[in-house]
Amino acid sequence: MEKIIIEGSLNTPEITIHSNPNYITIKGVCAPENPKKFFSEFIHQVEFLIADVKPLEITIHLDYFNTGSSRSLLDFLLIRANDAFKNITKVHWIVEGGDDDLFEAGKMLEELSGLPFHFKEI
């Protein structure tokens, strides 16, 4: 069992990457000026820690995001080339109760990624 925590900032989320069991948690604001660079570094950390095809669950609890991050998040969910991402069994999409826009953002990512989303209102 190993774990990497990427600290959040004013415009980036806190990310926890956990191996055995494999899970990733993304929580907070996701609006870096250059999402491509941010996600590239995050994916590199995932590949460093998770190198098997065991089931991977992803939990996403966003505060808000920018459009570049929305697309980068979709790119992240569409990765199938590396072992770490070949067996994503579930994406938990967590939103504050009554937040239709974040709920809808999750619905769009579910449609485009083809992954099984589990929606939870808190």
Binding site: K36, N66, T67, S70, D75, E96, G98, D99
Partner: protein, 181 residues
Amino acid sequence: MIKSKKLSEILSSIETQDEIIDFLFVFSGQLNEDVVATAVKLIERKLKMEMHSPTTITRTKIISTEILQNITKHQMENKDLLPYYFLASTDKGLVIYAGNAISDSGKTEIEKQLGLYKSYPAEEMRKIYLNALSKSIVDSNGNAGLGLLDIAYRSGQKFNYNFSPAANNAYLFDLNVWITK
């Protein structure tokens, strides 16, 4: 005390055009990534204090982020036309007023995009947005090219814009976005 004559003119014009109840957040000046993130955090706190719904708060934060980050990326240095962002409340909801100096080529591109997004049938907007999101590519600078479409989609196409000629082949680009209850 607002020193910029232009800014005071804009504020006066807004107050007479729309039924403003209160200005919730007012900013003018050069922007960077940290200022944008801090501004959005302050906007969120103000909206929570005013008991706006989670949807309105999220929508306002996302639209404001797109507007402010667009200004950050495309702002031209012009001491007479400083970027501005105002968030105001009205009986019908919230209104964002934003503006910044842009180049002639910037004007052409923005005008083309906003005109197109305004013309789309409202009932098609989700499909159009989903299609654009699926086809977009984030470039090395982090741009997905979805910012203006995102603003149009989330506001229900309730936006207006104007370009005023300024010195040195620049334009003042004013954008108003309504976030209705």
